[in-house]
Structure formats: structure tokens, C-alpha cells
């Protein structure tokens, strides 16, 4: 009798150990690193240096994702990149160049389709020391990343009349709503707000809203509200502190997440993560490749660094993540060594070295 009791008490413990052991097997977790184009390689290098200084148990596997034409004529990412990602499950990506008329679709789109990255998460927290007109911003935008207005289905009906189809499905809406509530629960957030335009797009946004409401039933500890997109925009620029977690379909998410990034200082300091099915998660910096400053040691690695911190948190390495984040924020708050876009005139390498120094001091 007692052995059964012991077994039932031990089994959840064993399960938890098994879960964490996968990330701590051999102690070091391998992460696929995609440096990207333009300033990508420089900032990836900066992040690797900082991680080394922080003694984070991460091994990097660099891969290139320039599209190649696979058998059958379909564009795809190189097979070694795909295999590496599937094996490691976690990736860090720098900015990728989207060619305007190269024949192949944008690389970000390709990655999204390959790994079914259905949720784009962007936590927007005001950075102390980088002054913007908005202080005390602390919200997270969770955007459905696979369907909605960006389904890419367009037709010319007759010459001069174009229709673009916005697709909303039950499964995708449920999936993103579930992710949003789970994220809120795991990160101690109090409320989730669904953003929609169901007064105009009754069926599509109505379906999205219904799914969110259904999922909210299972998460009674989190407050659920719904708000029109225009009301959210109006209130966001007047008082962003009233928002916590926002969940929405693709287009609204695109606009709102960039709006929130603008509130805290722009894409140069905003982290972002893409969560996929099968446990894949790719964290990325969302700014452009900045070809005009590529190779000049002027880039700001903050966005990629904060995304890497998000990655550490996702993997459960909270201590390392906190250390690196504190070092980064302290450096920015101090204002002594800042890159040009943050208002200083130091080089990227100097900024990186300063953060490394602080990280080592925090040991």
C-alpha cells in the first residue's frame, strides 16, 4: 500500500525532472543561431560574447537560411538549417533581408510556414534610461501569425477590382487564445484583452472572439476583456498602462505590436519571439538589416540581446536571463557607453564590452 502512495507522490516529481533534464542533459543546450544579413553578423557576435561572459550554458550552431529551390520548384529553407532547428527546437535569428522582387517569398514567411510559428510574442517594457514620451509601459502583444489578413490569397476579379481574402479559422483562433492565456498564467499577468473589429467583420472577428471567450472559461484566474481595435489604439497612445496582455489576429497584431514598440523606443530595443507547434521557438530581433551601417561597428545589439534573454527565460534559465537583462538595462541607464541610435557615440564593440563587464561584475 505504502509503495503505491510513494509512487503516486514521486511520479509528478519524476516527470518534472524528466522535463528539465532534457534541457540540462550534458549541461549545455544547443541553439540554432541565424545571424542574418546587414548588421546581423555583428550583433549576433555581440550576443555570443555577452553569453560567454555570463557563462550561460548555451552552445551555438550557426546556420544560413537563404531560400533555395527544392525539388518540385517550391522555395524552401536549406535542409541543414531545417534539420538543425528541428533537433534543437530553439533558435535565435538576426534580421533577414526581404528582397522586393527576387521571385522567392520573404524569408520570414518561409520560416513561419516551415515551422508553423503560430504565435508572435512581443513584450513591451519601458526601458529606464532610454527616454520616450511614454513611461511605465508594461504590456505584451500576442499576435496570431499564420492566417488572417496575411493569408496571401488575392485575386483580380475584373480589371480594376481586387479582392484580398482574410481567413479566420476556429483551430488557429483557439490555438492562439490558449497560448495567450497560458502565457499570462506562466508569466503572472493579470488580464488578457482580445482586440477585434467584430462590429464590422461580424463573422470573422466574431469567430475569433467566440474562441477567445471559450478558452477564457478554462482560465478563470485571468481576467478576460474584449475591446475594439480603434478603442485600443485611442487608449494606447493616451494611457498605455491600462493594458496587460493583448491577443489578436494577424493584421491588428502587426499594427499594434509595432505601435507598442514605438512607445518604448522603436524596433532597435524591442525583443520578439515566435512560438511554433512541436515546441519550436524562434526568437528574433525585428528591426531591419540596416545596410547603411553594416560592418561599421555602429549597430545596437539590444533588440537581439533582449530576444536572447526571452529565449533564456523560455528555456527556464531565468537566473542567467535576469543577469544579462540587468547588465543591459544598467548600461543603458548609466548613459556612459551608448550606441548612436540610443543617443551616445560609442561603438557596438564598446557597448558589448561594457555589458560583458557588468555581467561579470554581477557574478
Amino acid at each position: 500500500m505504502s509503495s503505491n502512495v510513494w509512487r503516486s507522490m514521486l511520479s509528478p516529481v519524476i516527470r518534472a525532472v524528466k522535463r528539465s533534464s532534457s534541457s540540462f542533459s550534458r549541461g549545455i543546450q544547443t541553439v540554432t543561431l541565424i545571424p542574418g544579413d546587414g548588421i546581423g553578423p555583428e550583433i549576433s557576435c555581440a550576443v555570443m560574447k555577452i553569453f560567454e561572459a555570463a557563462k550561460a550554458p548555451i552552445a551555438w550552431e550557426e546556420r544560413n537560411v537563404t531560400a533555395i529551390k527544392g525539388p518540385g520548384g517550391k522555395w524552401m529553407i536549406p535542409p541543414d538549417a531545417k534539420e538543425s532547428m528541428d533537433r534543437n527546437k530553439i533558435g535565435l535569428k538576426g534580421p533577414l533581408k526581404t528582397p522586393i522582387a527576387a521571385g522567392h517569398p520573404s524569408m520570414n514567411l518561409l520560416l513561419r510556414k516551415t515551422f508553423d510559428l503560430y504565435a508572435n510574442v512581443r513584450p513591451c517594457v519601458s526601458i529606464e534610461g532610454y527616454k520616450t514620451p511614454y513611461t511605465d509601459v508594461n504590456l505584451v502583444t500576442i499576435r496570431e501569425n499564420t492566417e488572417g489578413e496575411y493569408s496571401g490569397i488575392e485575386h483580380v476579379i475584373v480589371d480594376g477590382v481586387v479582392q484580398s481574402i482574410k481567413l479566420i479559422t476556429e483551430d488557429a483562433s483557439r490555438r492562439i487564445a490558449e497560448y495567450a492565456f497560458e502565457y499570462a498564467r506562466n508569466n503572472q499577468r493579470n488580464s488578457v484583452t482580445a482586440v477585434h473589429k467584430a462590429n464590422i467583420m461580424r463573422m470573422s472577428d466574431g469567430l475569433f472572439l467566440r474562441k477567445c471567450r471559450e478558452v477564457a472559461e478554462n482560465f478563470k484566474d485571468i481576467k478576460f476583456t474584449e475591446m475594439y481595435l480603434d478603442t485600443v489604439c485611442l487608449n494606447m497612445v493616451q494611457d498605455p498602462t491600462q493594458f496587460d496582455v493583448l491577443v489578436m489576429p494577424n493584421l491588428y497584431g502587426d499594427i499594434l505590436s509595432d505601435l507598442c514598440a514605438g512607445l518604448i523606443g522603436g524596433l532597435g530595443v524591442t525583443p520578439s519571439g515566435n512560438i511554433g507547434a512541436n515546441g519550436v521557438a524562434i526568437f528574433e530581433s525585428v528591426h531591419g538589416t540596416a545596410p547603411d551601417i553594416a560592418g561599421l561597428d555602429m549597430a545596437n545589439p539590444t533588440a537581439l540581446l533582449l530576444s536572447a534573454v526571452m529565449m533564456l527565460r523560455h528555456m527556464g534559465l531565468h537566473a542567467h536571463g535576469q543577469k544579462i537583462q540587468t547588465a543591459c538595462f544598467d548600461t543603458i541607464r548609466d548613459k556612459k557607453v551608448l550606441t548612436k541610435d540610443l543617443g551616445g557615440n560609442s561603438k557596438c564593440s564598446e557597448f558589448t564590452a561594457e555589458i560583458c563587464r557588468r555581467v561579470q561584475d554581477l557574478e
Partner: protein
Amino acid sequence: MSIRSVRSLSRALKPGLDARHIRPPPARYGGRHTVTLIPGDGIGPELVSHVSELFRFCCVPVDFEVVAVDSTMDSEDDINNAIMAIRRNGVALKGNIETNHNLPPSFKSRNNLLRTTLDLYANVMHCRSVPGVRTRHKNIDIMIIRENTEGEYSSLEHENVPGVVECLKIITRTKSLRIADFAFRTAREKGRSRVTAVHKANIMKLADGLFLECCKEVASGYPEINFDSMIVDNTTMQLVSRPQQFDVMVMPNLYGNVVSNVCAGLVGGPGLVPGANFGEDYAVFETGTRNTGKSIANRNTANPTAMLLASCLLLDHLKLHAYASMIRRAILSTVTETGLHTADLGGRGSTSEVVQSIMNAIQSTGPLTLKT
């Protein structure tokens, strides 16, 4: 083909018409205009009643024909009556009509129905920083021109497979050319130097691509005005960091919704900005951000500024410029006085106090008032 289409469009809109190419309705019944008034829901009825009160006080030669629209009724008779009244009078002032989004899709948004039936293709919102209102950004002066009848608001949705809903966004060449032409004409008349088209053509290549192409075509006919374009997500980011860079913006329906609300928020909120909807033959004036304000209805706390400024736009449209300027001056002098700010501006004034102060300001400046 492009230059020809622009020229034929401008020939269709005959020269000699006024700034907005809308023929104002002729004054009837001894110089007094009749204007349709739709109170709407929420704060609408109280705000439009203040407008009538103010007009009566200032002896404005306008009579209001009130048409109530009940948003809960299933039949579309109410809104059709309102539309008929607007066709009769040519001009209207309206409050926002509530849309319960939990009702089935057969129940269309009344506001949208009004706009599409009357073909009010251009929504114009002029967001300007108001001295005396505390905002994070200063010196904003943005004119937003938004396509009002098509785009994502076409209300064409269907569910072919259970669980998969498709919503159609329609962009047509004629309407895009029309709104772009409206934007450039307005920019020219108001002496503005730059028009920015807001789009997402990198993703919606055909739809927004067509819109952008039409804007470029029309831009070629206005060489003195700089034309550029910006992707909508970058636009919102730029708006919250540096809104002073924008002058006139033109865009399809949904982006217009987002951008106009962001700009309204930047200059002080929904209580300050009026909006105007123009068609070939009709014009309807309302608050810029079209809020129903259900939560603050009938509490005497709503900010009447937006609706009163909308009524000034109405007077300008009817060519009653003297009255319009007089009322506008009084409104702006009241709003700069922070002691009378309503709750949305961070003050504790009530709606009636604000309206009273406006009336006092008018009385002290002009002879055209009712002796009380």
C-alpha cells in the same frame, strides 16, 4: 492610360465648384437651411441637443430635422428613413449608432450602411494640437483622408467550411483614384505640401498595390505636392515617436480607422476632434473617432468640443462662414482654459458648463446672439 483617367476624373468634377467639389444644398425657406440630425446612441443625443441649443442662441439660420435611429430594431426602416432625410436635405449631423457585435451578420452596422448607401467616400479628420490641452507630443497638424466605403468594410463574409471564415477586402481602381484625387485636391486647396499614402503593399501585393498605384498616378497630376508612401506598421511607430513629420495622409478604410484613432489620441482624445464624411452629393458630419460613449451617457461629463467643432464644419460646408468662425473661436478659447476641461482631458468640468462658457464667449464677442 493613367493620365487620361486622371483627366477624365477631373473633367467629371466640373470646375468652378468649391473646395471640396460638393455642391452645397441651396438655402430654402427664406435663407434657412434644413439639416438632418441623427442623435444616435450613448452620448450622441445630449451632444446634438447642445448643438441645437448653441445654434439657436447664435441665431444660426439652420433648422434641424431630427430622425431617430433605433439600433436595436431588426428592420432597416429606421436607417432607410434617415438616409432618405439626408438625400432630401443634402447635409447631416450625426451621433454614432451603436452596433451590437453579438448579433448575427445579417444585422449590418447602421453607420456603415449609411456611409455606403450615400456613397460618402471620403472621411476627413484634421488633428491639430490644441494649446491648453496637455499631451505628450506638441505641434501636431495632420490631415487624415480615409476611404470610407470599401476595403475591409465591405461586409462580405462567408463560411464555406464550418470553422473557416473568409472575409473579403475589396479594393477597386475607381474608388482608389477617387479618394487619391480628393486627397490631393484638398492638399492643394489647403496649401499643404506633402501627401503620404499608408498601405501594406509588401504583404497585400495586389490589393494595397493597386491602391498605391492609383495614388502614384494621381500624384503625377499634382507636381507641386510631394508624395510618398509608408507601410502602416511603420506609420504607427512613427506617429508615436515623431508625429510632426506627417502632413496629409491618405489610406484605405481599416488603416484609416487605426491611424485616425492614434492621431486623435495624440492630440488629446476622442472629445476634441471632429470628422466629416463627404460624397459627391452629400455630406455628413460627426465626431472624428465615432465613439458611442455608452459608459458616460447622460452624466453630463462628455466633452462637447468634438461635436461642436463638427457643427462648425457643417456651417462652413453651408457657406455660413461668419457663424462658423465665431463659434469655432469661442470653442477654442474655452478649451484652452484648463479649468473647464471635462473628465477626458483630466478636468472636472461638466458638459453644460463648457457649453455655457462657449455661449458667454460668443456673447462677449459678437452681436449675433439671442437676448436672454
